[in-house]
Structure formats: structure tokens, C-alpha cells
């Protein structure tokens, strides 16, 4: 009871500390189906539904703030928002700058190549091949370590990597399997391309799933959000939201 009083007081203090008794949440709005901008300009997706459910759980009014991926951590640090819910993987590098809650989902990475490309997903199999990844993503770190004989090509966005896969400048791209599936393979441009090899989820490179980013000093908020993730998983709210977007277990093991 005492503990509950403590946390709700922290929530109140936190809410009072930000504008208009509310909390601002940085979201990306350009990463379907997790986060995308609807025709009317509103931001929708799995990340946003989860964020709203968590805010309801801890009893705070939340406003979504659309922020570019490049500037999303600086925005948090400069207090333009109080938390990042943007499918951000929990990695040691990011932990140096910000803090994370427990994961709220975890999906593996996978290769995509032209259908029938006859590639083997191993360091030897990909030797001398050109692999496209998004600059600064977890996938860059992973392919650099796991495929040392390959040529790694860095792109600003996943869309540019996919363009060069289509033109044949890279032999394969590696990214999150769900983002590749729904963002590329299931679209018109994805015709003639397919997954190959295994699913990859190495904690050292891929981190411990996607978490909610908070400033290092906001440990109360971090613990509250972590507890709220557990809570919505127990009440079945999480599965309800996940069921709207995915037909598999997006939370992972």
C-alpha cells in the first residue's frame, strides 16, 4: 500500500512537472506498422496503441510528439518529450546516453534477397556479397560482426536500402523481419523478393528487444512504465493490441 502511494505520488509529481499535467511521448511516425502517419496527420500504429495503454495504466494524459529518428534521443534529452516509444531496441550504446524500461516487444532480424538468389546465410556464404543496412541501426553492428567477409553498405533509411536491393547494387538487405515483411515484401515493390536464411536475435547485437526510452534521472518513471508493461500483459490488453497488427507472438520469448 505504501509502495503504491509512493508510485502514484511520483506519477502526480511527474505529471505536474510537465506541461498541463500531461506527459509528451516521442514517436517516429514513419515505421509501419509500428508507427505511421495517417492521412489526417494523426499518428497510429502498434507503438502508439501501446503508449496509450501504458499511459492509461499509470494514469497520465499523454500527447504523441512526432520526431525524426535521427533526433529522437536528443529530443528526449532536451526535454522536448518525456519518453520514447518508437520501436527502439535496447542496446549498450544507447544505454550510455538514456535508460530503458523492460522490452515491450522483440522481433528477430532477417535477410531479404531476390527470390531464388541462392545465397547461404553464413559468414562464408555471404563472403564478398554486398549487404545493405540502415546506418546506426542494430543491424549494422550485427552484420559487421557476423559477416566480416561481406561488404556492408550503409543507408540513411531502410527505403533507400530497399531501392538499391531492387536495382541490384546490394545482394541482400538485413533489417527487422516484421518491418521488412510488412514494409517491403507485402508491398508492390517487394514482388520477386523473399526472406532467406535464419532469424537472428543475438542479445549482444540485437539487444533485449524494443523498450521505452527515458532520461537516466527518471528512474521512477522507468520503473512505473516497466510495471505497466507487465500489467497490460496480464490483463490481456497487450494481446488485444498485438492481435490488431500481427498474427504471431510479437512479444518474443
Amino acid at each position: 500500500m505504501k509502495h503504491m502511494f509512493g508510485t502514484s505520488l511520483a506519477a502526480l509529481l511527474l505529471a505536474a512537472g510537465t506541461q498541463a499535467m500531461a506527459m509528451d511521448i516521442c514517436v517516429e511516425g514513419a515505421y509501419p506498422p509500428f508507427s505511421e502517419t495517417a492521412d489526417d496527420g494523426s499518428i497510429v500504429g502498434f507503438d502508439i496503441d501501446i503508449a496509450n495503454a501504458l499511459c492509461a495504466e499509470i494514469g497520465v494524459d499523454c500527447t504523441m510528439v512526432k520526431t525524426d529518428w535521427d533526433g529522437i534521443i536528443p529530443a528526449l534529452l532536451e526535454k522536448k518529450c518525456d519518453a520514447i516509444v518508437a520501436s527502439m531496441s535496447i542496446t549498450p550504446e544507447r544505454m550510455e546516453v538514456i535508460d530503458f524500461t523492460a522490452k515491450y516487444y522483440q522481433t528477430p532480424a532477417m535477410f531479404v534477397a531476390p527470390e531464388g538468389a541462392d545465397l547461404v546465410d553464413s559468414a562464408e556464404g555471404m563472403a564478398g556479397k554486398r549487404i545493405g543496412v540502415q546506418r546506426g541501426s542494430i543491424h549494422q553492428g550485427f552484420v559487421e560482426a557476423a559477416y566480416p567477409e561481406s561488404e556492408i553498405v550503409l543507408y540513411g533509411t531502410q527505403d533507400e536500402a530497399n531501392l538499391d536491393l531492387m536495382s541490384g547494387r546490394v545482394d541482400a538487405v538485413m533489417a527487422d523481419s516484421v518491418a521488412l515483411d510488412l514494409g517491403f515484401l507485402k508491398t508492390d515493390s517487394g514482388a520477386g523478393f523473399a526472406f532467406f536464411g535464419e532469424t537472428h536475435a543475438d542479445p549482444q547485437y540485437h539487444g533485449d528487444g524494443a523498450g521505452i526510452g527515458v532520461r537516466k534521472e527518471d528512474t521512477d518513471l522507468r520503473d512505473q512504465l516497466s510495471a505497466a508493461i507487465d500489467a497490460i500483459r496480464e490483463t490481456g490488453q497487450y494481446d488485444e493490441i498485438a492481435g490488431k497488427y500481427f498474427d504471431f507472438n510479437v512479444y518474443g520469448e
Binding site: D70, R94, R135, G136, V153, G156
Partner: protein
């Protein structure tokens, strides 16, 4: 400031410097080889060639380098007939795409610099050449071109610095030049300040070296145009 992360990644920046220098100097060199004949033809208003060069100069000075690079890199790769032709062996490579775009861009600007220098050649120099009985070819090679190039030096120095700064465009077509290294540092550790400041310092160092080289060249080759102190009358 996390200087340690910059130092940990010094190899990435060293490769970046090497790539930036390669692209800058090669495109300046190729640009010069395009610009020398083009500039002279433009100055002499040769039929057919002069208007054709004018169109080239207009197009490449009229559009941003970034757009030219995107058109060559992503634009051309869209067409199946290009991907199936021999040209694809070159256009497939982002390094060649950048070099082609930068060279054509630099060539267009340098054409105008050389045209201006040729047009403003003092009449007396050409008359002196004629008085010495030089053939038109000798006049061009021994008088007109050396004289024009000397006088083009200050402007050409600017063009080289602009090309160096323009070469940052390479980082958007996957090349890891100096800015590419800075962007990678930023994306990996979220250290915008450290990554971009390192890039800025490196670009500045190269710029100052280039400026010093051109100043030395100007001192040597434009000595005759420098104001001199008149000896006091006895």
C-alpha cells in the same frame, strides 16, 4: 564531449579523409580536362560547340549537386535497359556515380572561370606574340593558355574549396567520406556534436591546406601582377 569515442573510431575518419580527398582531387582534375577546351571554345564562340557547351554549363550550374548525384545514382538505376547495359558495371558503383556527378559539376563551373580568363587576356600579349611571328597554335600554347590559367588561379582556388565542401553529397549515396563517418558516429552513439565537430575540423584543416597551396601558387605565378613599390626618385 566524448573524445574517446572519436579516437576509438579514428580509422573510420581516416578512411573518410582518404575518400574525400580522392573524390575532390579526381573530380577537380577531370573537371579541368573538360573545362580547358570548353572554356576556350566558349570564349571564341565557335559555332555548334559553343552553344552545346553553354547548355551543359547551364544545366550543371542551374541544378544543385545533390540533385545531380541522386539522378545519376538512384535515377539511372531505375531503368532496366541501363542495368542491363555495359554502363551498369560503372554506374552500379556509388564511387563512380559520385565521381561522374562531381566531375561534370566542377567542369561546368571551371568552364566559366576559364572562359572569363581567356576573354580578359590583355590585347598586348597577343599582339606581342603576333609581332614575334608566332603561329596561332604557338600563341595559344605559349601565351594565351598560360596567361589565362595564371589569372584564373584565385577563382580556381575557390572552385576547389567549393568542390571539397560539395563532396559531402557522397555520404548520401552510401559512401563513407568524412561526413559519412561523422553521421555514423552520430547514428551509433547519438553524439551529434562529437561526430559533426570532428568532421568540421577535418574539412577545415583540408580547406586551409588548399588555401595555403593556392596562395603559394598565386605568389609564384601572379608575381608580375602584384603591386610593386616604386623606387624613390633620386
Amino acid at each position: 564531449m566524448r573524445v574517446d569515442l572519436v579516437l576509438d573510431n579514428w580509422q573510420m575518419f581516416a578512411h573518410g579523409v582518404w575518400l574525400t580527398l580522392q573524390l575532390t582531387f579526381l573530380s577537380i582534375l577531370i573537371g579541368f580536362l573538360i573545362a580547358l577546351p570548353s572554356g576556350i571554345i566558349r570564349a571564341r564562340r565557335k559555332p555548334f560547340w559553343s552553344p552545346a557547351i553553354n547548355v551543359y554549363v547551364y544545366v550543371f550550374r542551374g541544378t544543385p549537386l545533390l540533385v545531380q548525384t541522386f539522378l545519376i545514382y538512384y535515377g539511372l538505376s531505375q531503368f532496366a535497359f541501363i542495368r542491363e547495359s555495359w554502363a551498369w558495371t560503372i554506374l552500379r558503383d556509388p564511387w563512380w556515380c559520385a565521381l561522374i556527378a562531381f566531375s561534370l559539376n566542377s567542369g561546368a563551373y571551371a568552364t566559366e572561370i576559364i572562359r572569363g580568363a581567356v576573354e580578359t587576356t590583355p590585347k598586348g600579349e597577343l599582339e606581342a606574340a603576333a609581332a614575334l611571328g608566332m603561329t596561332p597554335r604557338q600563341t595559344d600554347c605559349l601565351v594565351l593558355i598560360p596567361s589565362a590559367l595564371r589569372r584564373a588561379l584565385p577563382q580556381y582556388g575557390n572552385e576547389v574549396v567549393f568542390m571539397l565542401h560539395g563532396s559531402v553529397v557522397a555520404s548520401v549515396i552510401t559512401l563513407q567520406d568524412i561526413l559519412g563517418a561523422g553521421r555514423t558516429l552520430n547514428a551509433k552513439y547519438y553524439l551529434a556534436y562529437e561526430g559533426f565537430l570532428t568532421a568540421a575540423v577535418l574539412y577545415m584543416a583540408i580547406t586551409f591546406s588548399l588555401v595555403a597551396v593556392f596562395r603559394a601558387l598565386e605568389r609564384r605565378y601572379l608575381k608580375h601582377l602584384r603591386p610593386t613599390r616604386t623606387p624613390a626618385l633620386p
